[in-house]
Symmetry: C3
Subunit: 164 residues, 3 copies
C-alpha cells in the first residue's frame, strides 16, 4: 500500500479545508443570530440580555443617545422612556445584516426600523443605518461598538452603509 500515506494526507487536507469553510459559516451565523436577537430582547424589556450582546465596555452610539458599557445599555432598556414604547406597542424591526468576518474581528451593516403603535395606527418612527463592530471573545462573539444613525438626510448615515 505504497500510496496509503499520500492518500491519507490528501484526506486530511480536504478535512482541514472543510473545517475552515464551515467555521466561517458558523461565525457569520452566530453574529447574525446575535444581531437578530436585539429586537425581540429590547422589545420584551430583557435589559440584562440586551446588554450582554456587548462586551462589558462595549459602546452603543445612537444619534439620540450614547451608551458606554453594559450598565448604561441595560439602563436604557429599563428607562421610563423605553418602557413607555413597550407599553404602547413597539417593534425594533432589524433587517438581515450583511456580515463580514476577518479572523477574530467582524463588521456588520444593516437597517433597523423603529415602528410605534399610536391611536392612529402603526407609524414608522425611525429608519436607521446600523454598523456593528464585533469581536470573538471567550464567551463567543460580542459587540464592541454599534453605531446607529437615522436616515434623515444627514451625511453620516449613508456613510455608515457604504462600508458594506
Amino acid at each position: 500500500m505504497a500510496d496509503a500515506e499520500p492518500r491519507r494526507e490528501a484526506l486530511e487536507e480536504r478535512l482541514r479545508a472543510l473545517e475552515e469553510r464551515l467555521r466561517l459559516l458558523e461565525d457569520e451565523r452566530e453574529i447574525t443570530r446575535l444581531i437578530l436577537s436585539y429586537g425581540p430582547l429590547v422589545d420584551s424589556g430583557c435589559a440584562q440580555a440586551v446588554a450582554e450582546l456587548w462586551e462589558p465596555e462595549g459602546v452603543y452610539d445612537v444619534d439620540e443617545l450614547l451608551m458606554n458599557g453594559r450598565r448604561e445599555i441595560a439602563a436604557m432598556v429599563r428607562s421610563r422612556n423605553h418602557q413607555g414604547w413597550i407599553a404602547g406597542g413597539c417593534a425594533h424591526f432589524i433587517g438581515p445584516p450583511h456580515v463580514t468576518v476577518d479572523g477574530d474581528e467582524a463588521t456588520a451593516v444593516g437597517y433597523t426600523l423603529m415602528i410605534v403603535n399610536t391611536p392612529d395606527g402603526f407609524t414608522l418612527r425611525r429608519a436607521t443605518a446600523n454598523r456593528w463592530r464585533l469581536r470573538r471573545t471567550a464567551a463567543g462573539w460580542r459587540a464592541v461598538e454599534r453605531t446607529n444613525r437615522v436616515l434623515d438626510g444627514r451625511k453620516e448615515s449613508p456613510d455608515l452603509l457604504a462600508s458594506c
Copy 2:
C-alpha cells in the same frame, strides 16, 4: 504503519463532528426558508402551499383568527377577506427569524409587518410578534404551531418575543 488505525479513527471522529455541525446549519437553513416562504406564498394566494408549511393538524393562532389544521389555514388564504388584500396590494413582510433547534424540535422568533396599499399610499396595517414551534417530520421540518400577536401594547405580544 503501526499508527494507521489511530490516525484513521481520528479522521473519522473529525468527520463525525463536521457532519453534526453541518446538520445544525442545514436545519436552521431549512426552517428559515420555510418561514421566509410564508410571505410570498400567502401574498400570491398559494393556499395549499401555505397550509403545507404546517403539519396536517398544525395550528395558526393569530389574535384576529385561530386556525386549526391545514384545511382552515388554506381556507383563510382563499377567503374573500384575504383575496381582497391581494387585489388591493399587500405585503406580509417577514423579518429574518431567530431560530433555535433542539434535536427534532425547534422554535423561531421574529416579526411580520402587514403592509397594505391604499388610495393614500402604503400603510403599515399591523406589526406582529411571531413565535413558531416546529418539528422534524418525514417530509422535512413543518410548523406545529405559529402564534402571532399584534404589538399594540398588549402584554402577550412582547412575551412572545422574550423566548428569543
Copy 3:
C-alpha cells in the same frame, strides 16, 4: 489490514458528500450577501458597486424604470432623482431573500420596502415584490435579471412571488 481500502473509500465518500452539502450553503450565503448588499450600496450612492452586482449585460427591470446593462444601472444611482432620495433620507430595506440554487443558476424571491424621510416623518413610498435570476460566473455569483413590481394590486406583482 484487509478492510483498510473499503474504509478509506467510505471516508472519501462521506467527505465528498460533506463538500457538496457545504457548497450549497456557501452558494446560498453568497447570493444572500449579494442581494443584501444592494440596499446599503444604493443608499450610500456607490454606483459602480451597485452595477457590479449584475453581469455586464444584466437587466434591472423596475415598474418605474427598465435598465439594461451595468452602465444604465450605475447611471440610475448617479441620477439627480436618486441623489435626491439620498439627500432627503432614504432606505431601500431589503427583506431576507428566499434563494433556490440549481447548479450554476439560481433564483431568489423577496420584498423591498422603499422608505423615505419627509417633513412629516418617515413614509413607506413603495413595497415591491422582487424576483432575481442569478448565475455563477468566474467572478462569483452575479445577477442576470432582477424584476421589481410594486404591490399596488397589479396582477404581475404577486405572480413574481408565486415562484417561491
